[in-house]
């Protein structure tokens, strides 16, 4: 059995994760972790809706930032997708999407400050990179014949609008609406760094232990996302897009001089600013690498690999919850709800909660990443498994059916989805450093706290390169194992 390359690869990943466990710190250090957990759960099941104005504003801002950010990202990404055959465009897309929304927000906060533009661009820029890539894949997959048989004299625009777009349209649309859901999560999370979205209020409510407020905010957010199909109708989207910019709030006026200073002074390495020469610059860079970048990279990789395998294991356990081969109508609905909650809860938020409850270690991060990502993969694999029709008289026992009939058929797509999320898990791992786990984000956050943007930029670029590396590796593995994917599984 281990001769199969798929199994060998899987075991390889498990082995790497096991080695990482040796270096990982997974203790629960809290003396009474369940006490606070109990209070939180009580708060969540007894939500306090006594300040509907605040909840409504939080929700409205979250939706507005998501629409404007995703809308701009989609428009820019569409233009990029048309130029995707140029290497430089592909590189730019890979780079901007390798940097997490929160890092973009931390950068833009330096020169736009608490202006809506900070939040909008923090979503729009990385999303443009993702849209650029996926749109170009979708357009490439469309049938080329209609365009080929048009006479040469047909204009570029007519050729494109008649022969290319219409057949790609349903795929473009479904991917864009999927990204809108991601955009709502991103938008909510931006509140943690000061944008007026859901995270802003969640952070306050959490910090002060008002778990009933937390419950109310989360509940409304879940409903918003679960009901996405009901309120986001294609006819209404243009209306939303037009209205959204007016609901971003005003923030504080921008000081444009800052933008210039950011590039000409702030991110210039300190030794150069002080005119201390190349030796000092080298010393500065070496210190930064040894004291911050390398430990950060180490922790990021360790946490990523453990979280990846944990995600895989949890996904395989979770998908039967919504698979018709294992559940009835009631249990299926229940499983569905569970997975929706798992994937709607942003991992950043989940890690934040668990860190408060269990104390400082990698465990909260691993659990948060595994739960959120298993919610997504479990959902996709579960749906895939529902397309399988078992022959009559197939294995009757549930365990046998799982092991012999269903799992072998969904294992390929499962690995493809998992590899797709590898880069995403790493991006999130880095960002969780902001919460205090010593991944790269911890050092970025420290540098920004110390107003040392030169260091922050170097660390962010290193994070981006690490992500691009993992993305490349994942693509090679997918190609080697001949795993096909659908682009909508990427987040």
């Amino acid at each position: 059995m281990p001769q199969s390359p798929t199994i060998r690869t899987s075991l390889g990943f498990v082995l790497v994760a096991a080695v990482c466990l040796v270096f990982a710190d997974l203790a629960i250090t809290s003396i009474n972790p369940w006490l606070e957990m109990g209070r939180l759960l009580r708060g969540v099941v007894t939500p306090d809706f006594s300040s509907p104005g605040q909840i409504g504003t939080a929700l409205l801002r979250t939706v507005a930032f998501a629409f404007v950010g995703v809308g701009l990202g989609a428009a820019a990404g569409f233009v990029l997708s048309l130029l995707f055959r140029f290497r430089i465009v592909r590189m730019v897309c890979a780079f901007v999407r390798a940097i997490h929304e929160l890092f973009w927000a931390l950068i833009f906060l330096q020169f736009f400050g608490l202006h809506p533009l900070t939040g909008v661009l923090a979503i729009a820029i990385p999303y443009a990179g993702i849209f650029g890539k996926v749109y170009s894949e979708i357009l490439d997959e469309a049938d080329p014949t209609p365009a080929r048989i048009l006479p040469r004299r047909v204009g570029v625009l007519s050729r494109f609008l008649f022969a290319r777009i219409p057949d790609a349209w349903p795929h473009l649309r479904s991917y864009t609406s999927y990204r809108l859901e991601c955009g709502l999560r991103s938008s909510a999370i931006l509140g943690f760094v000061g944008m007026p979205t859901l995270g802003f209020y969640l952070e306050s409510a959490f910090g002060e232990g008002h778990y009933d407020h937390v419950g109310a905010l989360l509940l409304v957010f879940y409903i918003l996302i679960a009901a996405l199909r009901l309120w986001v109708r294609s006819r209404l989207v243009p209306l939303y897009m037009l209205a959204a910019p007016f609901f971003l709030g005003t923030g504080l006026p921008i000081a444009w001089g800052q933008a210039v200073r950011f590039f000409t002074e702030d991110i210039v390495p300190n030794p150069i600013r002080q005119g201390e020469g190349l030796v000092a610059l080298w010393q500065w860079f070496a210190d930064l690498m040894v004291n911050q970048a390398l430990p950060g990279i180490g922790a990021t990789i360790v946490l990523t690999q453990i979280a990846l395998v944990a995600t895989g294991a949890l996904s395989l356990l979770a998908f039967p919850l919504i698979s018709r081969h294992f559940t009835g109508r009631i249990t299926g609905t229940l499983g569905h709800t569970l997975l929706v909650i798992a994937r709607t809860t942003p991992e950043y938020l989940l890690a934040y909660i668990l860190l408060q409850l269990w104390g400082p270690s990698m465990l909260p991060a691993v659990v948060a990443l595994a739960v959120h990502n298993a919610g997504i993969i479990g959902h996709l694999i579960g749906r895939r498994s529902n397309e399988i029709s078992l022959r009559p008289g197939a294995a009757q026992g549930r365990l046998e059916r799982y092991g012999y009939e269903v799992l072998p058929r969904v294992y390929g797509p499962f690995l493809a989805f998992l590899f797709y999320r590898w880069e995403i898990i790493m991006r999130e791992t880095a960002i969780l450093g902001i919460l205090g786990i010593t991944t790269l984000g911890f050092y970025v956050d420290s540098a920004i706290n110390e107003l040392r943007f030169d260091r922050a930029m170097v660390l962010i670029v290193i994070t981006a390169l690490l992500n691009i590396g993992v993305d490349t590796l994942a693509r090679r593995l997918r190609a080697r194992l001949r795993l096909r994917h659908s682009p909508t599984c990427e987040s």
């Binding site: 608490l114 910090g207 002060e208 110390e450």
Partner: protein, 286 residues
């Protein structure tokens, strides 16, 4: 319920004040404790200053110490209630800016080390060597009382970085959370602003059976009001002096109690030279 929420939100969004006009003085404060408390306190301060200064005054809450400094640097706020370290950073970033006034208590501020009862540590006059090998939380990364001074003393006594001398080191984010995390036992020991602790105890917000003070640091200069150097061009010739006078004249006991400070006294940039030197030693500023 949802419908109410949406209506309220729509109204709130549409009636939201337009972008701060040139005549609005905007100020912020480092988010060193519970946000509700800060909003309440600085809402009152805004009303008070508006009455004294004849300009519109608006308080904006921020999510981090760095965001407070950045807003000041970007001239999105012109006045701020900083801690010792954040004030030093802000004034370094904005040439010409000035420390105007500090609380009476801020000239001789201090940090408490607090410990969970399970550690068995008790109050002592000397640095508590027993914290070695315990889990430890600072406040914000950018805090003076919650980070700079406690780290300085830990390094001085153990001659090692905190993460090497202690079992685990975290940053809770603010002082209220430090108290909560040590009280719940998530961390065994923490460093907290003495003033936040004292008022939490006075208000019955802390179970002192679970967590207690084990050491008080020597004193240092901390919080202060800092103003940008260019406010006179914008708000009128003697605006800076008017702000200073207004702050020094703050006498409403309820207002002062919300900080809590006995009153405000004049200060200057040089009062914080020691803080700057300490921060340099710890490589927290260039």
């Amino acid at each position: 319920m949802l419908k109410h929420a949406l209506t309220a939100a729509l109204v709130a969004a549409l009636l939201a004040p337009a972008a701060a006009s040139a005549e609005t003085l905007v100020f912020t404060a480092i988010p060193d404790q519970d946000e509700t408390k800060l909003r309440e306190r600085f809402g009152k301060v805004a009303d008070y200053l508006e009455g004294e200064l004849d300009v519109d005054v608006r308080y904006v809450p921020v999510k981090s110490y760095a965001a407070a400094v950045t807003a000041f640097r970007n001239n999105q706020v012109q006045l701020a209630w900083f801690g010792g370290l954040s004030g030093v950073r802000a004034r370094q970033a904005v040439p010409g800016s000035e420390a105007l006034a500090q609380g009476v208590e801020d000239a001789e501020f201090s940090t408490y080390f607090i410990a969970h009862k399970s550690t068995g540590l008790t109050r002592s006059e000397d640095f508590p060597q027993g914290i070695k090998g315990k889990t430890f939380t600072f406040g914000s990364k950018g805090s003076t009382s919650g980070r700079l001074m406690p780290e300085y003393h830990i390094r001085r006594v153990f001659d090692a970085a905190p993460q090497d001398a202690l079992e685990r080191v975290g940053f809770s984010g603010n002082h209220s959370r430090t108290i909560a995390l040590v009280e719940s036992g998530t961390y065994e020991v923490g460093a907290v602003n003495y003033s936040v602790w004292d008022s939490a105890v006075a208000n019955g917000k802390v179970d002192t059976g679970e967590v207690s003070v084990i050491w008080e640091t020597p004193t240092y200069a901390d919080y202060q009001w800092t103003i940008r150097g260019d406010v006179n061009q914008r708000f009128g010739d003697d605006f800076k002096d008017k702000v200073r006078e207004a702050l020094l004249a703050m006498e409403d006991p309820e207002l002062l109690q919300s900080f809590p400070r006995e009153g405000f006294i004049p200060t200057s940039n040089s009062s914080y030279d020691n803080i700057r030197e300490t921060a340099k030693k710890l490589d927290l500023i260039d």
